[in-house]
C-alpha cells in the first residue's frame, strides 16, 4: 500500500497516468512513496510536481518512507535531476557527477526576484546556448517564476527544472509551487466558479489576480501565462497547467494546421479535466523548440497583437510614432 505511486512514465502527453494512480492527499503523517518497479521516465513536469509534493510534506511535517528497486536504470537521471532530495529522501546511489552544461537544469528553488535574476544569468552557460537562442527560454522562465514569486504566496518558492534535447533542439520545462493555487489567487479580484474557471481566467489576456481591471494595473498586465502558452503553441508543442482539481493541456498543433493565438483559451486545441486529485499549488510544464530564434521578434509581434486584440478589441498600431533612435 502506498500513499503516492510513481508510474513508469510521467510526461506531458501521458500526464494522466500519475493522476489516475493517486489522490494527492489528504496526506497521512507517515507518507509512503512507491516507484514503478521497472523503469521511471520523467519529464520535468513530473519532477516539478513531485518536488512540490515534497514541499507539502515538509510543511506538514510528514515522515517519509519509500519503495525503490535500485536496479531501475533511470535512477541516475532522477538523482542527477535532484528528485530524491527535493522529495525529502536521501540519494539512493553514489554517482560520479558530470557537468550539467548543455543538457539539463536540475531541480532548484527560486524564492526571490534577485534569485531569479541570478538564475537567468546562468541559463546560457548551463544550456550551452547563445544569447540569441536563449531569449525565448529566458522569457518563459522569467514570466513563470515571477508569477510564483508575486502571486503564489509559496514559502518554499518555485521548483524549477529543465532538460535539453540537443538533437531535437527542444527544451522541456517544469515549474511548480506549493502555494495557494490559482483559484485563491485569481478569486481575489474576479468571480470564479471552479478550478478550471480559474485556469481559464489565468490564461486569458488582461486577467490578473492583482486587480479586477481587465488589462491589469501599472505592475501586472495579466499577459505572462498567455505569452508562454503562445510560445509553446508557436513551436507546436504541449503546454500544461494544473492547479487544484483541474488541468488545461494545450495539444500539439499539427504541422499542416495554422498557428492561431486565441485570447479565449476554451477555443484552443486543448484538453481539460476536472475532479482530479486536489493539488495544493500550481504546476506548469511545457516544451519549446529553440532552433528558429530569428523568428522570436515576429513571434512577440504576433502574440502582442493577439493580446491587444483580446484585451482592448483594438488593432491600432502606434509603432511608427514611438521615438526609437
Amino acid at each position: 500500500m502506498s500513499d503516492l505511486y510513481i508510474p513508469n512514465s510521467v510526461a506531458l502527453r501521458n500526464f494522466d497516468t500519475i493522476l489516475k494512480a493517486n489522490t494527492f492527499g489528504p496526506w497521512p503523517n507517515e507518507v509512503h512513496v512507491k516507484f514503478h518497479p521497472k523503469y521511471v521516465a520523467m519529464h520535468p513536469v513530473g519532477l516539478a510536481l513531485l518536488a512540490a509534493l515534497g514541499d507539502i510534506w515538509r510543511k506538514q511535517g510528514a515522515n517519509l518512507s519509500g519503495s525503490l528497486d535500485r536496479k531501475i536504470r533511470s535512477i541516475p537521471y532522477l538523482q542527477r535531476m535532484g528528485l530524491f532530495r527535493a522529495m525529502g529522501f536521501i540519494d539512493p546511489t553514489e554517482l560520479v557527477t558530470h557537468e550539467e552544461t548543455g543538457r539539463f537544469i536540475p531541480l532548484r528553488k527560486i524564492r526571490t526576484g534577485l534569485e531569479l535574476e541570478e538564475f537567468v544569468k546562468t541559463i546560457d552557460p548551463l544550456l550551452h546556448t547563445t544569447r540569441e537562442n536563449s531569449r525565448v527560454i529566458k522569457h518563459v522562465f522569467s514570466e513563470l517564476i515571477r508569477n510564483v514569486i508575486e502571486h503564489a504566496i509559496a514559502g518554499e518558492g518555485a521548483n524549477v527544472c529543465a532538460t535539453y534535447n540537443r538533437n531535437k533542439k527542444k527544451i522541456s520545462i517544469g515549474i511548480s509551487d506549493s502555494g495557494r493555487g490559482l483559484f485563491t489567487s485569481i478569486a481575489k479580484s474576479h468571480d470564479l466558479t471552479d478550478d478550471l474557471d480559474a485556469i481559464h481566467k489565468a490564461l486569458t489576456p488582461g486577467v490578473t489576480g492583482s486587480t479586477s481591471r481587465i488589462g491589469g494595473n501599472e505592475q501586472n498586465a495579466g499577459a505572462g501565462l498567455f505569452f508562454t502558452k503562445c510560445i509553446a503553441q508557436s513551436t507546436r508543442n504541449n503546454f500544461l497547467i494544473y492547479s487544484g482539481t483541474a488541468y488545461f493541456k494545450l495539444k500539439v498543433t499539427p504541422a499542416d494546421h495554422p498557428i492561431v493565438f486565441h485570447s479565449d483559451p476554451t477555443k484552443d486545441r486543448c484538453s481539460t479535466k476536472t475532479e482530479l486529485p486536489n493539488f495544493d499549488g500550481t504546476l506548469i510544464g511545457l516544451d519549446i523548440n529553440i532552433g528558429d530564434q530569428k523568428a522570436f521578434k515576429d513571434l512577440i509581434d504576433r502574440i502582442g497583437s493577439a493580446y491587444q486584440l483580446g484585451v482592448t478589441k483594438s488593432k491600432k498600431d502606434y509603432t511608427k510614432r514611438i521615438h526609437f533612435t
Binding site: I300, Q308, D317
Partner: protein, 96 residues
C-alpha cells in the same frame, strides 16, 4: 532641462527581466522627471532582450497616464529587435 538618460543594462545586464527594478526606475526616475516637464531617454544598449512584464512595469503607466503625449516624453535608444517589439506591444495595448 536636459533629458535624463537611463542606461538599462547598468541595472539589468543583457537580459532585462527584473520587474522590481523596472518599477523602481518608473517611480524614482521616469515619472518624477516627466512630472517636472523633463524628457527621458531609455537606452537599451547591450540589452539583448527583455520580457513583456519588464517593459510593462517600466512604461505602461506613463502611456496610460499621458496618452499620446508620452511619445514626446520618452525616447527608446539602441533597442534590439525583440526589445523594439516588446516596447511596441506594451505601448499599443496601453494606449488602446
Amino acid at each position: 532641462m536636459n533629458p535624463l538618460t537611463i542606461r538599462i543594462s547598468d541595472l539589468t545586464g543583457n537580459f532585462a527581466e527584473n520587474k522590481d527594478k523596472a518599477k523602481d526606475l518608473r517611480e524614482q526616475k521616469v515619472m518624477p522627471t516627466i512630472a517636472k516637464g523633463g524628457h527621458v531617454i531609455l537606452d537599451f544598449a547591450d540589452v539583448d532582450s527583455t520580457t513583456q512584464s519588464f517593459i510593462h512595469a517600466l512604461i505602461s503607466k506613463v502611456f496610460q497616464d499621458k496618452r499620446e503625449k508620452a511619445f514626446t516624453l520618452i525616447e527608446f535608444k539602441n533597442c534590439s529587435g525583440p526589445v523594439k517589439s516588446l516596447v511596441s506591444t506594451v505601448v499599443n495595448y496601453s494606449l488602446a
